[in-house]
Amino acid sequence: MAQFLLRRLLGMFAVLFVVSLITFLLMHAIPGGPFSREKPLPEATIALLNEKYNLDAPIHIQYLDYVGDIIIPRVTYGRIPPSASEDYLINISLPAFMGDEAVLRWVNFGPTYGSRSRSVNDIFRESLPVSFQLGVAAMAVAMAVGIPLGTMAALKRNTIFDYAGMGVAVFGVSLPVIITAPVLQYLFGVQWKALPPTGWGEIRHMILPAFALGFVNSALIARLTRASLLQVMNEDYIRTARAKGLSERMVVIGHAVKNGIIPVVTILGPLFAVLVTGSFVVETFFGIPGMGRYFVTSIRGRDYPVIMGTILLFAAFISIANTIVDIVYAWLDPRIRYD
């Protein structure tokens, strides 16, 4: 297990390294810089800004500096003035004998060019909790609708329940956020005034976006649950469980669902990552201050550190989610071993 984790961790770093490299090269290949304006700034100003943000260095130096700021821990002494370029995510005060106000600082995603006083870490601190809440809520909707629907369809195979359930699922797969968001927002927010159409901060603000985001995924989960359960119900151990006299309820809950859920778990990991890192569409519609909008605005504005930060964050989320999925796998299915 330890070896497996170590291997996965190394693999994750390799992936993140390549993802960061490709993103870095691609975004610098897009013409125009962060300070290109409709009405061009004076050249001297641009040169100064480029110097300030290290944009005049050769590209490979820029990349190494960027990666270094993230992965290499630094020890600083004394108070450092708050600055967008020197904002670390992890700050650990070291004992006094190590120096005057020595602080170990780690993980700096750099400044944003969009604002003089904000860093990418600030964006993470403000928007990530919002996107996280929305992601968890959407995930809850997706699972609460999808798993029972799929289970019902599988257990009542080829009955009206099955056809209705799978009909709903195909219907749901055809409803991406870009469709559900305006419809839900209009019906519940504007016409029936049951829920606030936009805004963020209270539970009631969360309901519409969570459904808009969760519904399409609940359909995916329902289909997968059904297919997987159908396969499991034909296994020998289900026959054994029935033969030893277990009630159908126990057979389904104790044996079938526990095994049938495994393929569903594989999709939950990446899905969770997608939901948490925010959906641009749903956040635009409902006026939610999450991560989603930065994906688009940063690329438009050539805000290099924000582009890198959001993509790396997302890729890390996917990798971590997949690793957790693998661990949960082993826990759900003792036949899977990692050695």
Binding site: M27, I30, I179, Y186, V190, V281, I318
Partner: protein, 346 residues
């Protein structure tokens, strides 16, 4: 099934009155025809194709004609469907009633119905060309990896893993920005300039296709590789090889036809995803170039005024839903019809 088997022995046994055999494809077609939902899907797609082809004669107005005096106008029935849209004249009324626009007009006074009709072209083209790009790349990688094996397989599959780790939507946004801006202002005569001209001529669709293709081939590659791995050990492949068939011959004559079923199903089911990708790209303003209408772009425009003019977002959303729904149902039916495990059930 029994019929088909009898015929395959025909060359040995020699049947006096050969029974007309049923190929697997005929078998599948028969099953598909019985699936009402799939037929409905195919029917909606067919209508959509006709609408897209005859958009010029069907659309009541040109999609880009602006009548600023009629901006946000709507016919009476729309205000009845959306009760919050109160016609001018009543208390708090703000909607200009105009029966000239069957579904209403947008913020620039352009006819919504005409724009939805023309918008079907974009969605359909994406539905047809998107899979072609993904299929070409996915088949190439999958066949090579599965057939060659060894380090080639290993390398290609690591690339696939890497692509999976990339957040698709972010990569596509990045790529689109790169295409849109990177190919601008190039010297005439260069390759990039030509590409950009083609993209302009297609209303910005070319780069949308490439963006979707580059980010969507991995599923296909994995599927094809898995299929090839399971098929290449089969006896008939060994037989073909011992007869001296070339590698290319084995791949295209023996392996490809046998994996076509799952490939078709997977691509049909992926089409709605491509359509929603395009809608998303147009939603964020990186899709087709205005004023070419795209349903995603129309939803984005309508989203800004959803509380005052819901029809401007909801009608294109319904159009988008219908086409996605149709492809999903057709794909679902195709899977049931082509899935080998279903064969012989009836």
């Amino acid at each position: 099934m029994a019929v088909a088997e009898k015929q395959s022995f025909g060359s040995v046994v020699r049947i006096e009155h050969p029974v007309r055999g049923e190929s697997l494809w005929m078998d599948s077609w028969r099953r598909l025809r019985r699936n009402k939902a799939a037929l409905l899907g195919a029917f909606i797609i067919l209508i959509n194709i006709l609408v897209a082809i005859f958009a010029d004669s069907l659309a009541p107005k040109p999609f880009d004609r602006q009548v600023l005096a009629d901006n946000n106008a709507a016919p009476l029935w729309v205000t009845q469907v959306f009760p919050t849209m109160i016609p001018r004249g009543e208390t708090g009324g703000y909607i200009t009633i105009s029966e000239d626009y069957p579904l209403g007009a947008d913020g620039l006074g352009r006819d919504l119905l005409s724009r939805i009709i023309y918008g079907s072209r974009v969605s359909l083209l994406v539905a047809l060309v998107g899979p072609t790009f993904a299929l070409a790349l996915g088949l190439l990688v999958g066949l090579t990896a599965g057939y060659a094996g060894g380090w080639i397989d290993n390398l290609l599959m690591r690339i696939v893993d890497l692509m999976y780790a990339f957040p698709t939507l972010l990569l596509i946004i990045l790529l689109m920005a790169f295409f849109r801006l990177g190919f601008e202002n190039l010297q005439p005569g260069t390759f990039g300039y030509t590409i950009n001209q083609i993209d302009r001529a297609s209303g910005g669709l070319l780069f949308v296709f490439i963006g979707i293709g580059v980010t969507s081939w991995m599923n296909m590659a994995r599927l094809v590789r898995g299929q090839v791995l399971s098929i290449r050990e089969k006896e008939y492949i060994e037989a073909a090889r011992s007869l001296g068939t070339s590698t290319g011959g084995i791949m295209f004559r023996h392996i490809l036809p046998n994996i076509l079923g799952p490939v078709i199903v997977a691509e049909t089911l992926a089409i709605p995803q491509y359509i929603s990708f395009e809608a998303f790209l147009s939603f964020i303003g990186l899709g087709v170039n205005p004023p070419t209408p795209s349903w995603g772009g129309m939803i984005a425009e309508g989203a800004r005024g959803i509380s005052s003019y819901p029809n401007q977002a909801i009608f294109p959303a319904i159009a988008l839903f219908l086409i996605m729904f149709a492809f999903n149902f057709l794909g679902d039916g195709l899977r049931d019809a082509l899935d080998p495990r279903m064969r012989g059930v009836d």
